[in-house]
């Protein structure tokens, strides 16, 4: 039936060994893929290499093109690319909540804010009355709390997850649309709290606050310490260094999300998305499973928030508006809710449109006639239309999730599980990505086959009518 993989060694040593083995199996797996699907493997290799060298190419070649308008399309600047990474991390997190577990969270930005303010409080001169400096390259005695970036990331993760669980605990039994509204409310309250707690008077027991500025109010908090590793600063004027930091965080986010997806928890999330009652009857603890989705999903935004605040060096409550939650939602809907690769493509596309293409278009139009509307001011007109049109014509997005059929089909089951560990995942993962691309080609040709693959929406098909989900193009 399934070929039994090598016995799995237990314990920390076993874990490390499996990591090493997975890392070593990458060249072999790559050669194998190359033999089996040469065209696809070449495309993927080019894409990955391009992604890795992109920041350098961007600095050396594309940005000069931008300046001289020698290419008809604009290339995103380093700051925008860094933001693309941050937004992609958030999209992956929202995809856990909304895509895997099917819980619509309209206030996702709240967790982004919580992460950002975690960094702002713990790595800035804001609380100037104390001086707490831990492993941070700040002169001793410098006012404020200063923790290093590598500590802020897990803290942002934990704070956001904690609030995710606190919000989720009373609300997760609500029906989908009510839950959406409750999360929307939470998303509005959190920034308001950060905005308004700038002059707090409080006198109770041992706590005396007179006009205390807890959150910086409208001005927000700055300067926030930039991330710093090995003497290199990854702040807003560090150019491509920050892009690479963002990329590393994004890759970690992808690996975590994929590992969760292909696990007991991932299956439980999908089961409750498909049929909550049946899932509970089959032994899935709804409360725990949903809370976990909410908490873990939120934690991605927490980390994204830490990155945002540390990178930009400033955070204010104005960054965290309802429209940001919706922007992230559009990313996952455009890309294909449920599918990590689709979600990332969606995130990159929307971020590019929003932060590079529309401003560029606006600039061009203004140059022609200054009375023309500037599309970058009406970005949400475009995104709103996009939402309506997507829901009507392509609710599953452009790179829909095909569940894990590909994973089970392409490698013998035992091997897929045995060797695709944390790092060696990349080969398998990229193959699946290629599958979704290939699926997209099928979709273009055969719209009907794609309908069978619809899973985000669409009326239930007659079970007897379909035979199998569409195979990939190869």
């Amino acid at each position: 039936m399934t070929p039994q993989a090598k016995p799995i060694q237990m314990g920390v040593i076993g874990w490390l060994a499996s990591l090493a083995e997975a890392a070593m199996s990458v060249p072999g797996a790559y050669r194998q893929n190359f033999r089996r699907h040469p065209r696809r493997t070449i495309i993927l290799t080019v894409l990955i290499v391009f992604a890795i060298v992109y920041p350098v190419l961007n600095r050396e070649i594309f940005q000069p093109w931008n300046r001289h308008s020698s290419f008809p399309l604009p290339f995103p600047e380093d700051a925008v690319v860094t933001f693309m990474m941050i937004l992609s991390i958030m999209a992956i997190g929202l995809n856990i909540v909304a895509g895997f577990a099917g819980l619509l969270d309209l206030g996702y930005v709240a967790f982004y804010a919580l992460g950002a303010y975690t960094a702002a409080f713990l790595a800035s001169p804001h609380f100037g009355s104390v001086s707490v400096i831990l492993f941070s390259q700040v002169p001793p005695g410098f006012p404020g709390i200063h923790l290093p970036f590598w500590m802020l990331v897990p803290l942002g993760f934990a704070v956001a997850a904690l609030f995710g669980v606190l919000l989720g605990a009373p609300t997760l039994r609500l029906r989908g649309d009510y839950l959406a509204i409750v999360t929307l409310g939470f998303g509005e309250i959190v920034p308001v709290v950060f905005k308004n707690l700038s002059a707090v008077n409080f006198d109770l027991g041992p706590i005396h606050l007179v006009n205390a500025n807890l959150t910086g109010g409208n001005l927000g908090i700055n300067p926030i310490d930039p991330p710093r590793f090995f003497g290199i600063t990854f702040g807003s004027n560090s150019g491509i260094a920050a892009v690479y930091l963002g990329m590393i965080l994004l890759v970690v986010a992808i690996v975590i999300a994929r590992n969760l997806e292909r696990s007991r928890m991932g299956r439980a999330w999908m089961a409750i998305r498909e049929d909550e009652i049946a899932a509970e009857m089959m032994g899935v603890n709804l409360v725990r499973t949903k809370l976990l989705a909410f908490g873990l999903g939120a934690s991605f935004a927490g980390v994204a928030g830490v990155m945002q605040a540390s990178y930009q060096g400033v955070t204010t409550s104005d960054f965290f508006m309802f429209s940001t939650s919706i922007l992230i939602l559009i990313m996952i809907i455009l890309g294909g809710i449920g599918n990590i690769w689709g979600v990332i493509v969606g995130a990159l596309t929307i971020a590019f449109l929003d932060k590079t293409f529309l401003p560029y278009l606006g600039q061009r139009l203004q140059a022609i006639d200054s009375s023309l509307p500037n599309p970058s001011q009406f970005n949400f007109l475009i995104f709103g239309i996009l939402l309506v049109v997507m829901m009507r014509f392509r609710p599953e997005g452009f790179l829909p999730s095909r569940q894990r059929a590909a994973e089970l089909r392409h490698a013998p089951v035992g091997q897929a599980i045995g060797s695709a560990a944390v790092m060696g995942d990349a080969a398998l993962a990229s193959e699946e990505f290629a599958d979704t691309l290939a699926a997209e080609q099928v979709v273009e040709v055969e719209a009907e086959a794609a309908d069978a693959a619809d899973q985000a929406a669409g009326p239930p098909t007659d079970p007897a009518a379909d035979t199998e989900p569409p195979k990939d193009a190869t």
Binding site: M1, T2, Q4, A5, I8, Q9, M10, G11, G14, W15, S18, I256, N259, L260, R262, S263, R264, M265, G266, R267, A268, M270, A271, E274, D275, I277, A278, A279, E280, M281, M282, G283, V284, N285, L286, L292, L296, Q403, R404, A405, L408, R409, V413, G414, I417, G418, A421, V422, A452, Q455, P460, T461, P463, A464, D466, T467, E468, P469
Partner: protein, 284 residues
Amino acid sequence: MTVPPLTGDLRTGVLPEDAVIVRARGVTKRFGGLVAVNEVDFDIPRGAIVSLIGPNGAGKTTFFNMITGAYTPTAGEISFDGQPLITKSRSKVRSKKPHEVTALGIGRTFQNIRLFGTMSTLDNVRVGLHVHMRSHWWDSVLRTPGMRVEEQASIDRGMELLELVGLQTRAEVWARNLPYGDQRRLEIARALATKPQLLLLDEPTAGMNSSETAEMTAFIRRLREELKLTVLLIEHDMRVVMGISDRVTVLDYGEVIAEGTPVEVRANPRVIEAYLGRGAAAEA
């Protein structure tokens, strides 16, 4: 576990306590003013196939849902394998949650199939295995050896169960793309994955033709023989009920109106009356 001979009197209240897997006493469920189930006493003998029949709206599925924890009874007691499923704290009746009941060893299928449509056949079964898996989310994130062993075991066990129901070649197919009969069998495989001692089947042959029905009947019998399962069945098809039941209980308007072997029940005038109306009963 000793399986008692199933030839004796299997009616409620007759068997000794350890020969009974589910014991329900005075179970009542009201929805507003409607009494769906009224003061029902019900025993399921260990290892038996018991059928629950009755006209539409007699309260069969409601009773099912109280055993599985989907509904909390208004009054009464239900115990499974000696453990109470219903507890009373002050005046409030509480039921164990469905997932807790499942963990204790009760598996079920649904009247209108409720598979996880866009998950693969194998993954549907693996959701059933979820309740007996122990790895945590951090194990999944790190893909620890323990988690990988457990995942591998779940694949192996899932494939075994698919083989049992004859779906091993369709492991990767989305559940909703399976033909109807296969979906019914997948539901049973998924229920078996929860390692039940008691299997509740809600109209397993609904919508099947006669050869499929015969196949399903044989399969249910096999489950009892090979897996030593106890089966509680809701069924409308009298050939199925009469063919495989060790005992039949008839509900009407939420009350037990008859109980006994298929032969006894078939001859019971109250049952005929409930199904066909008073006139028919008088003629019979």
